[in-house]
């Protein structure tokens, strides 16, 4: 019985691994960048590893590096973290059904819901001979292990080999550009993608660097809901 169970997990990890290779490469890179930046602030690899274990958020942890400063209040920490991660709410909304198979693993599945893991869930199909709950869990766990490994490597390298890391945070920008291009090439998501870029630029110009995220989010939701309503009306008219 135990052997059979091990085999199933083994099969799940074996089936999941090839799908996670793009995330492996991406996470090692941006994880290393996070570790280097954190080490630059004075935090060694243990701190970086613990943070990647407990928090596990790319842009969230990049942003969080700035929180380790006497000028930043704890209220700001919570508010800014919430704002930068607020998009995750919408990821969960589209996974309500899919995670029903996860059982006891569900809390971890929710905890580990990053941009990249989320996109893998929709890019990959569970092989027929593998349990879906275990397969999704394998993707989640492998992805986080890459992230922790990357941040530890980065922190060790940043402590041992002092080098000019100026500009290494561009890895995050590059990652989002890559996800953006992937979505753009899929075509169906072009309208919301353009809305996201344009409203954010306008919001940035109007409200400035410090305050533009919340207005941008509200504007994006308003435009997309408005478009939905128009489409629904149009659909209703076409049916008449």
């Amino acid at each position: 019985m135990i052997l059979e169970k091990q085999n199933t997990y083994r099969a799940a990890f074996k089936a999941a691994f090839p799908h996670t290779i793009p995330v492996l490469t991406g996470y090692l890179f941006i994880g290393i960048a996070f570790g280097v930046m954190f080490a630059d602030k004075g935090y060694n690899f243990i701190w970086a590893g613990v943070m990647s274990l407990l928090v596990y958020a790319g842009s969230g942890q990049y942003l969080a590096v700035n929180f380790f400063d006497p000028s930043v209040s704890l209220l700001q920490v919570v508010f800014l973290t919430f704002m930068v991660n607020i998009r995750h709410i919408f990821y969960g909304l589209s996974l309500l059904d899919k995670f029903k198979v996860s059982g006891k693993k569900k809390p971890y599945m929710i905890f580990s819901l990053t941009d990249e893991t989320y996109s893998l869930y929709f890019l990959t199909k569970t092989p027929p001979n593998v349990d879906e709950g275990k397969f999704l869990f394998a993707i989640a766990l492998l992805d986080q292990s890459y992230w922790i490994l990357g941040s530890i490597i980065g922190a060790v390298a940043g402590t041992l080999i002092p080098f000019d890391s100026t500009g290494i945070d561009f890895a995050m920008t590059a990652l989002f550009i890559v996800i953006f291009v992937e979505q753009w090439l899929e075509k169906k998501n072009r309208f919301p993608a353009v809305v996201g870029v344009v409203t954010t630029i306008i919001s940035l110009l109007v409200f400035g660097r410090e305050n533009f995220v919340l207005p941008a989010m509200i504007a994006i939701m308003t435009v997309l809901l408005g478009k939905n309503r128009m489409d629904n009306k149009k659909g209703a008219k076409d049916n008449e």
Binding site: A174, A193, M221
Partner: protein
């Protein structure tokens, strides 16, 4: 350990707060719509179109510190960003696009536009 920018305790509190807040953003939908409860149609539709819009927002978010009117006029970001786009359209390889883009950006800001 004594060269931390803030105290040990304060550092631990920051990490815990970031962890709890991040988890909150991920768990909210599952609390609002527990298994078996019907998701409103508007929310369902919004959930489908929001991710690409948010990624677009995040690209701009990452570039918020760029000043197009003063030296170096956002040129390092523009060059490296375009390189990422071109490489990715041609090769569709995450590591290549992110790796080359980041290294080129670092060289640009540390030497060419230093």
């Amino acid at each position: 350990m004594n060269n931390l920018p803030v105290s040990f305790q304060h550092s631990v509190i920051i990490i815990v707060l970031v962890a709890v807040t991040t988890f909150a953003t991920r768990v909210i939908p599952f609390i609002l719509f527990p298994s078996g409860k019907k998701v409103p149609k508007t929310v369902e539709q919004l959930g489908k179109v929001l991710p690409p819009a948010v990624i677009g927002m995040l690209v701009i978010y990452c570039l918020k510190s760029v000043s197009p009117l003063t030296y170096p006029f956002g040129l390092p970001e523009l060059i490296a960003g375009l390189l990422v786009v071109i490489l990715h359209v041609l090769k569709r390889n995450n590591l290549l696009s992110i790796g080359v883009g980041t290294v080129v950006y670092m060289v640009l800001v540390q030497t060419v536009f230093a």
